[in-house]
Amino acid sequence: MKLRINLFGSFFTGLTLLATLIIFAILFVIIGNIVLQGHKIISWDFITKAPREGMTAGGIFPAIFGTVALVILMIIAVLPVGVMTAIYLHEYAKSESALTKTIHFAVNNLAGVPSIVFGLFGLGFFIQFVGAGIDKFFGLEVVWGQPCLMWAALTLALLNLPVVVVASEEALRAVPSDMREASFALGATKWQTIRRVVLPQALPGVLTGAILSISRGAGEVAPIMFTGAAYFLPYLPHKPTDQFMELGYHVYVMATQSPDVEATKPILYGTVLVLLILTLLLNFIAIFIRSKVRRQMRHSV
């Protein structure tokens, strides 16, 4: 009887191990396939030149440039707002007040909104309300009231707000409270304590959130499809009202709408590989920072 129970148990334990191994396999196969097929086309030219001949030759530099520009604008918008929200929630607000609960509720729900709905929002609010409004106010033709870097970046900023807030809150929570007490007992004010003692210690965690949001911002396509991304532009974006090429969007259009799939396949795989390297590298860095901080804390306690 005991033997049967044990056999049964070992079987189920084995199943859970199998499940874990399946996840490893999935990751391995996907990354392996992309690296295998894509590495051949990666070259210095590929990264620094523009596409030619209907996307069958040349490089994808404009897409890389556009992605970087997009992400930079996004982080400028989302990082201060997210960190300040976290500071308010953790350092200033009375815990469990109606306001903190509402903010947490809003943050959690933002995190669950489908990315295409963000795209709709970007179109309906930023482009058709704010943008059109700005144009009307200044008597312009269509300048702000159209898809462009600015609105795409702001849409992504809203999408990533929960990532930054949650990571920053976790970082603030990890700073031991006796650090704050020591600072107060020396006569520092609340903001002085936050600026000089709490934030420096919370920095790695905040950085983790920032990097994760950059990674997501570079990878999401649905929010930017109608708010600024374009498949082919003969110029690089140089003002916030310009449209831009973007890695993820490029992959989508090329994969689903290119007239000659076989001819564009190498460039397609190359683009995917570049996008993958970019996002995974960022994730690695973020995870690395986070685990280093957690290990540090375990030792100092």
Partner: protein
């Protein structure tokens, strides 16, 4: 050696706001302080005076309210949600619980050293100079001079003078506690509150800290909370015995330990309970 005072000290000091009694010159005068954590009353009608430039010790069994009382003296309890109090606490004649009190200035004047040392994860130098920096003092010469002076006062200078840039966390427990003391001294307080300053330390470090405290009273008014009766008997000039949120007895230390007035006090100091 402790000085002999002539006047009798009453456990319950009558409401004389800011006026000094004969030879008892309290730097801090507490009048009917009550303190509540939410619905629970932690301190009942405490009235007491803390003598200038002397060491006053608060003793009592755990949970009796002595640490709570200590934290009332620099309003650190304000940080606890649900905490409230009534009564007056006079520092040099000013009620620190009245309106318009600049809290950060109060905490500079009434410094605190915590039970578990809590140096910042910064260098020794940055730890000690922190208090000056937040006051806006950036002059390197002044900072260096202050750091040296206070580390000497804290009897730590010789041990760390060559490694001021090292992280304070690399020091031993006793050394970290002395960094915290130096740090508190750097802001030039009038009163130094110490919550079980040596409880986390080994006997040798404890002896050093006790020696340090006795040196400090020349320039500062010291209040310590300790669960170690012998320590209170060794180093303090005045002792207050707390029990279940009440100040049962307050007198010169020698009297408390040799001839206490209250039976509870006697039971506690003779070890019948604790």
């Amino acid at each position: 050696m402790r000085e002999e005072t002539e006047a009798k000290i009453e456990p319950k000091i009558p409401e004389i706001s800011g006026k000094k009694i004969e030879s008892f010159t309290p730097e801090i005068l507490v009048e009917k302080l009550n303190f509540y954590y939410g619905k629970i009353q932690a301190l009942k009608d405490i009235s007491i005076g803390v003598q200038e430039n002397q060491i006053t010790a608060f003793i009592g069994p755990s949970g009796c309210g002595k640490s709570t009382f200590l934290r009332c003296l620099n309003r650190m309890n304000d940080l606890i949600p649900g905490a409230r109090s009534s009564g007056k606490v006079f520092l040099d004649g000013v009620d620190i619980y009245s309106r318009g009190i600049e809290l950060s200035e109060l905490r500079r004047k009434v410094g605190m050293v915590f039970q578990k040392s809590n140096p910042f994860p910064k260098s020794i130098f940055e730890n000690v100079s922190y208090g000056l920096r937040i006051q806006g003092i950036g002059d390197q010469n002044i900072l260096e001079e202050t750091v040296e002076r206070t580390l000497k006062d804290a009897a730590l200078w010789d041990e760390v003078k060559d490694k001021l840039d090292q992280s304070a966390l690399k020091l031993s427990g006793g050394q970290q506690q002395r960094v915290c003391i130096a740090r508190a001294l750097a802001v030039e307080p009038e009163v130094l509150l110490m919550d079980e300053p040596a409880s986390a330390l080994d006997p040798i470090s404890t002896a050093k800290i006790e020696e340090l405290i006795q040196d400090l009273k020349k320039n500062y008014t010291i209040v310590i909370v300790t669960h170690n009766m012998q320590q209170a008997a060794r180093i303090s000039d005045y002792t207050g015995f707390f029990f279940m949120g009440e100040l049962v007895e307050f007198d010169q230390t020698s009297k408390i330990f040799t001839n206490p007035r209250d039976k509870k006090t006697e039971d506690y100091v003779t070890g019948r309970f604790g």
